[in-house]
Symmetry: C2
Subunit: 334 residues, 2 copies
C-alpha cells in the first residue's frame, strides 16, 4: 500500500540526487508546529539515509515547540553558511516565506526541492512534492517515509505527529482524513506519544498569555450581523501584560469560534507591522483571495498577510473586503 503514489517518482529522484551530499532544510519564518516538525523530521530522515542534512530557520523556534529540539538543532538561517549547497523547502508556499531578509540572501541558491501542502504553492523549486489534499506537510513526509521504508525513529515520529496535531487543529479540521489517522497510528507505533506534544502545546501557558487573552476577549466584536468575528491585540496590550508575540497562538480561533460567525479576523499589531490572520468556517469563502489583495496568501479557509503600519490603517479596507466576499458567497449560494 502506498500513501502518495503520485509523488513517488519525484521523491525517488530527490533521494538519488542528494545521496551522500550536504543539504539544507528550510522552513518558513515564524515557524509553527507543522514547519518545525517537518524540518526536524526531514533532516533526520535524510541523515538516516546518509545525507548530511541541516535544518535552518530565520526565526527562533517558539518556546512551546522547544520539546522537539533535542539532538536535532534548527540553526539560524544566514547566507554565508549555505555554501552553494542544495536547499530543500518544507511548508513554504513560495521561497519568500523563509523571511523577508532571508529570501534575498538565498536568491541565487539551488532551490532543489519543495515539500508542501499549500494549494497556493507556486512550484518554485526544481522538484515539487505538493499535495494540497493533505492536512499538513508532516502528513506528506510521514507518508513518503513509510512508502520508501525510511527509518522513522521515535524522535522523528514525534516531530511528524506534532506537525499533524497542530495543522489539523488537534484532529478537528475537515482535512483530517482516514489517512491522517492511519499515519498517526503508525507514528505512535514508531514511538511517538501524543501527550508529549499536547502537554507543552495546549496545557501549559504563561500567566501573561492569559492576561493578554483577557484583553483580547474584551475587545472581541462582530460585524455584518454577527457573520464576521474581529479580534485585535494592540502594541500597548503586549506592553501592559508583559507578553510576547508567540503568546497569541490560537487567538485567531476564538474569532471564528463565535456562534454564527463565518469568517474570523485577527489583527496583531507588532512594532512596525500588523499581522492579519483570516479563518473561515468552510473553504467556500476563499479567504486566501482576500489575503492576496493585501499581498498575502494561504489556504481557502485559513490565510494571512503582513501590513506595514497600524491596525487603524488596515482595519477598515480589510473589513470592507471581507464584507464584500461574504456577500459574494451568499449570492453564489442563494
Amino acid at each position: 500500500m502506498s500513501y502518495f503514489p503520485r509523488l513517488a517518482e519525484t521523491f525517488s529522484e530527490l533521494l538519488a540526487s542528494v545521496a551522500n551530499d550536504r543539504v539544507f532544510v528550510l522552513g518558513h519564518a515564524r515557524p509553527d508546529g507543522d514547519c518545525v516538525g517537518a524540518q526536524i523530521a526531514l533532516a533526520r530522515l535524510l541523515r538516516g539515509y546518509g545525507v548530511d542534512a541541516v535544518a535552518l530557520n530565520a526565526d527562533p523556534i517558539p518556546k512551546a515547540l522547544g520539546f522537539l529540539l533535542g539532538e536535532t538543532k534548527i540553526e539560524p538561517l544566514v547566507a554565508p553558511a549555505l555554501d552553494g549547497r542544495p536547499l530543500l523547502f518544507v511548508d513554504c508556499a513560495d521561497e519568500r516565506r523563509v523571511g523577508p531578509k532571508s529570501s534575498q540572501l538565498i536568491a541565487d541558491c539551488n532551490f532543489l526541492a519543495s515539500i508542501d501542502h499549500h494549494i497556493s504553492n507556486t512550484r518554485f523549486a526544481r522538484m515539487n512534492l505538493i499535495e494540497p489534499s493533505t492536512a499538513a506537510t508532516c502528513e506528506i513526509i510521514a507518508g513518503l517515509a513509510f512508502d520508501f521504508g525510511l527509518a522513522v525513529d521515535a524522535t522523528t515520529a514525534q516531530a511528524l505527529l506534532t506537525g499533524i496535531m497542530t495543522d489539523t487543529g488537534r484532529f478537528g479540521y475537515a482535512a483530517t482524513s482516514a489517512r491522517v489517522f492511519e499515519l498517526c497510528s503508525r507514528l505512535v507505533q514508531c514511538g511517538a506519544r501524543p501527550e508529549v506534544s499536547a502537554q507543552p502545546l495546549y496545557e501549559n501557558q504563561p500567566f501573561s498569555r492569559l492576561k493578554l487573552l483577557q484583553r483580547f476577549l474584551g475587545a472581541l466584536r462582530t460585524e455584518f450581523d454577527g457573520k464576521l468575528g474581529v479580534g485585535t491585540v494592540a502594541r500597548q496590550d503586549f506592553v501592559d501584560t508583559a507578553s510576547c508575540y508567540e503568546e497569541t497562538e490560537g487567538f485567531v480561533d476564538f474569532t471564528r469560534s463565535i456562534e454564527g460567525v463565518v469568517i474570523g479576523l485577527y489583527l496583531e499589531e507588532r512594532r512596525t507591522t500588523v499581522k492579519a490572520s483570516l479563518r473561515a468556517v468552510d473553504s467556500s469563502y476563499r479567504v486566501d483571495l482576500i489575503a492576496k489583495q493585501f499581498g498575502g496568501g494561504g489556504h481557502a479557509a485559513a490565510a494571512a498577510f503582513s501590513f506595514e503600519g497600524s491596525i487603524a490603517e488596515v482595519e477598515s479596507p480589510l473589513i470592507t473586503a471581507i464584507g464584500n466576499r461574504i456577500q459574494e458567497v451568499e449570492a453564489e449560494s442563494a
Copy 2:
C-alpha cells in the same frame, strides 16, 4: 486482526442472549461525549443486528452534543418504561452512575451487561466487558463492532469518533494509543467526519461564553508562589454576561494550565451553591482527598464538590486545605 480478543467470548454471548429481544442502553447521568456516543452507537449497532435497543438517560443531552441526536433518540430514563427488559450499561463504573433517583428505580432490574473503560468499574453486571487500557468506552465498542463485523454506518461511526475525541482530550492524553488512531481511521472510512464533531464541541461558542471567559480570566490569580491557580465565576458574572452554567465548560482547565501551577481550583457560584472543581498536574496531589474533606470526591488528579453557600464562605478554608496538601506533597518528595 482482532482489537479486543479478551472480550470476544463475552461479547459473543451478549449478542446471542439479546438477539430479537428488546433491551435498554443506559449511560451515566450528566452525560459527556463518550457516554452519549457509546449509547447511540451501541443502540444502533444492536438494531442493525435485529435487537430492539432503546437508549435512556436520566439527564438531558448537552446542547453541544445535540448534533449526535438524529433519528437515534436518547429517551428520559423512567422506570415504568423498563418493563423488566435487560439493561446494558455503557461508561458506568457502577450502577449508581445512572443518577441518584434512577439507580433506585432500576434496583431490581436485570443488569445484563456493562461496557466500560473505568479502572474503578465494580463488575456489577452479569456480563462485564471492561477494558481499562482503553481511552474511551467508544473505543471498546468500535473495536468490538469491527471484530464482529457489525454494520457501522456513518451515524454510528460519528458517535464513536465523538466519544473517542472527547475522552482522549482531542487525541492528547497518554491513553491515545496506536489502536485509538487506527480505529478512528476506520471510523472515518465508515463515514465519520472529524469536523462534524469538533465544530460544535470546540469551535462554536455563544458570544456570551467569551464574555464570561473574559471576566473569569480577569479574576484569575495564583497563590502559594504560583503553585495554585484560582479562577472564579460569581453569580453576578452569569447575570452581566447573560450566560448559563453549561457555558463554563473547560474553565477549570485554564486554572491548571498556568505555567508553574500544580493544582488548579475553579469556583462557580450558582443560585444557592458553589461548584468547586480541582485539577492537579499529576495524581500525586490526590485532590480527591481534598474534595472529600468538603463532602465531594473524584479521581487523584480531578475532583469536585458542591457547597451550600457563597464563594466568600468556602474559598478561604479550601485554599488553606490545598496549601497544606501542596506542602505535604513537597515534603514527601523532598
